[in-house]
């Protein structure tokens, strides 16, 4: 289980940016692109190599006070993103 203290960092294989034409955040890598869904994009936009998961979750809660189960959703996404080699802890 991923710890809330973990500081996620984007793998250097990837570039993260907002794509106007896609109206979404994307991960770019050699000759390819992952179009991120809304929540995934919001989480990754806060991954800066300095914030830990608690801080990321706090920021998301400020932005989306109505959202339920944010903790679990963020942790599940981070686990998946590590498996995909998008980020490392």
């Amino acid at each position: 289980m991923t710890s809330l203290e973990m500081i996620p960092v984007l793998e250097k294989m990837f570039r993260f940016q907002w794509e106007e034409a896609q109206q979404s955040y994307v991960l770019l890598y050699p000759e390819g692109m992952v179009k991120l869904n809304g929540p995934a994009g919001e989480i990754l936009s806060l991954v800066d190599g300095k914030r830990n998961l608690t801080q990321i979750i706090d920021l998301l809660m400020e932005k989306y006070p109505q959202a339920e189960g944010l903790n679990d959703d963020v942790l599940a996404f981070i686990d998946d993103a590590i498996k995909q080699h998008w980020i490392r802890g």
Binding site: R15, V26, Y29, P30, M33
Partner: protein, 385 residues
């Protein structure tokens, strides 16, 4: 929506639907220090020497970005031949592109790798001809190529780039696939493209000398799968991409994800194409010197020609798989049958499928002709003017 007054007049049908040109391939030059006999450049490349200027390229990049293009490949020929490459990389990166340099590594240096990094280059793909120095140099038509490639691949990784290594495989190197993979692991590639040769351009001329047998191919695929399992178990994130040749398939590939759907190539002299082979087709394609990319992508005859399904002939037209493979490759249909509207002969439903069976049979025989190398002298033979 209903009612007859809301649409356009019926005499002006809407062009078939299409996506955004997510992939922009900038073929900066046809010049190349190597002479690979499977080069996908047109055989008559020596006819097209009026290269776009720096400013003309930057205009193309700006217009492409507005259309939604996000991946930009610098290709050729050998793109390193262009003295303004750093300027072009910087302009593209500033526009928000993910920038890919697709190079043979010949002409690269430690200093240039650093200079491109500073300009914002995201990724370098180095192509090899073989894992073996002699075979590599024989295919490249250069005695120094292999050592230079090794050195540059190491430099690319040392300077922190993601690296893709590309090996075009064929009957002369496919049996060394294990050594190719080992070399890629040693060089710490992030992705490896084991691309079985596709028979366009120069490769079509050399098909009999290049095409592997089915047994060679199956062995290579099996070994690749074994390495995938072994490397994954060892926690190595390297990705091995095995591109099967369509000549051994019974259904054609969904070429380019459909004509004019995601891919746009611009040739050294500014011709815009829906794929890098399409220059051979008897269709007039627009030039970026005369038209905007917006017009080219959305309105030009060349880009709309094979969009949708209206253009199809039988057996494609009534085929329930047409939305999956779009009838296959237009260039292959043209090269082999003389009519680009025909079903790709790879399809076993094609009345011309025996041409593919014939090529498979030829692959079983030893190669007899010498390889025809891709160079300016040989290209002149194919030039019209």
């Amino acid at each position: 929506m209903s009612g007859s007054c809301q649409g356009k007049p019926s005499s002006l049908p809407e062009p078939p639907s299409h996506g955004q040109p997510l992939w922009l391939l900038a073929e900066l030059t046809y010049k190349c220090p190597l002479q690979c006999p499977y080069c996908s450049n047109p055989k008559d490349f020596a006819d097209f020497s009026e290269e776009l200027t720096t400013q003309e390229w930057i205009k193309v990049f700006e217009e492409g970005r507005k259309l939604g293009a996000v991946q930009l490949g610098f290709s050729g020929g050998e793109p390193l031949v262009r003295q303004d490459l750093s300027v072009l990389i910087k302009a593209a990166r500033d526009l928000g592109y993910y920038t890919n340099l697709i190079t043979s590594g010949v002409g690269l240096s430690e200093r240039k790798v650093a200079e491109f990094r500073d300009a914002g280059l995201d990724h370098i793909q180095v192509s090899f001809q073989a894992s073996d120095e002699t075979v590599n140099n024989m295919l490249a038509g250069s005695q120094k190529a292999f050592q230079q490639k090794l050195k540059m691949a190491r430099e690319v990784k040392a300077q922190g780039y993601p690296m893709v290594l590309n090996f075009v495989t064929h009957r002369h190197n496919i049996d060394q696939i294990d050594r190719i993979i080992e070399l890629c692991v040693e060089l710490e590639a992030d992705y490896v493209e084991l691309a079985t040769c596709q028979y366009y351009g120069w490769a079509f001329e050399n098909r009999q000398q290049l095409m592997p047998t089915r047994a060679q191919l199956e062995r290579a695929e099996r070994i690749t799968n074994e390495y995938r399992a072994k490397l994954a178990a060892a926690g190595n994130p390297i990705k091995l991409i095995f591109v099967t040749p369509d000549y051994y398939e019974e259904r054609p590939k969904g070429c380019m994800n459909g004509w004019g759907q995601v891919f746009l190539t611009v040739t050294p002299d500014g011709q815009a194409l829906p794929c890098h082979s399409a220059r051979m087709l008897p269709i007039e394609f627009p030039n970026v010197r005369e038209h905007t990319l917006d017009h080219i992508w959305n309105e030009s005859f060349g880009f709309n020609h094979f969009r949708g399904y209206e253009w199809m002939k039988e057996p494609c037209l009534s085929c329930d798989e047409k939305e999956k493979d779009f009838g296959g490759c237009r260039c292959q249909a043209y090269m082999m049958t003389g009519d680009a509207h025909n079903t790709d002969p790879v399809c076993s439903k094609s009345p011309n499928h025996d041409m593919i069976l014939q090529a498979r049979a030829e692959a079983e025989a030893p190669a007899t002709e010498p390889l025809l190398y891709r160079n300016e002298r040989n290209s002149r033979v194919f030039c019209k003017g």
